[in-house]
Point group: C2
Chain length 166, copies 2
Amino acid sequence: MSRKRAPTAETALEMAGSGPSERLTRNLDEVLAYQLRRAQEASFAAFAARVGEAGIWPGWYALLVVINDNPGINQRDLSHAVGRDKSTLTASLRELGKAGLIEKTRDEADQRSFRIALTAAGQRHLAELEFHADAHNKRLDRIIGSRNRTILLQMLRDLADNLSAE
Amino acid sequence: MSRKRAPTAETALEMAGSGPSERLTRNLDEVLAYQLRRAQEASFAAFAARVGEAGIWPGWYALLVVINDNPGINQRDLSHAVGRDKSTLTASLRELGKAGLIEKTRDEADQRSFRIALTAAGQRHLAELEFHADAHNKRLDRIIGSRNRTILLQMLRDLADNLSAE
DNA sequence: TATTGTTATACTCTATAACTATA
DNA sequence: TATAGTTATAGAGTATAACAATA
């Protein structure tokens, strides 16, 4: 996780803007899975561009939120919560630790695991990310119309929940 | 693009299913960007699992669609259409060529570029993918309610278009 | 024996930069 | 000089498997 560039972010923004030939993708317009990917990429790129300026690491967001909401969580549960393998957490948590955003303490009851919690700096950092997330969400609201927000969120949650269930 | 496994696909499905501790991610529920990612991942995983069984390469789908709709397209335009750098196309197109799905012929008018088109096999392959995409879309429709499909698609396209524009 | 977390390793996807050949 | 496509290289993100410590 070296922080030099956020390659996918800006570049995706640039490229997407300048379509040279009009509508080469007409027949993908109706493919839900494809539009889902486009929207996700665009949303991520925009969010990354926003927080990138502030020198904040967007990939940490979900991690910080879950830790904040579940202080003392261990890595196994954390990895399940964010849907990634536990092995991928090691590096991220080390970075978060180095940045002074989280604290790991041995679980006295079970010496195999750690209890992870945000430090004060971690809470401030999260607050800053929330601020940007908020601004980003408002931008998305303006695009889709804020009354549609609830519907869209519900549909997305339904999709994720139902497709995963089995 | 060695075809041995489709790691993200099945594994994501498995993991997402068995949440051990309930709702560790409550406060991410309202974060549109996050739910967008979850839905996209789940959708991709489900589609990959479906076509994976049939030995079909889901990453090729968008490429094949665009080529089919724009026979004779060159790599520069193709790369813009799918939103990837031209350098990433080289390998994919080589695979598609090896698989006998596309044909590259020199553009006589401009010897630097190629004209890319689907072969008959490519068209059959695309038809098979479309079949699976169709089934997948129907499954998504059942989840969100088919009347909501149009709305969702519109919102996703709006998001992608507006966020990229600038 | 089973589980938590780490390490070693590998694979996918994508990008940038330098290059070749044409224009 | 500029453009189309290729190659070399790198990095982010993720996974699996083997391992050490602990249960």
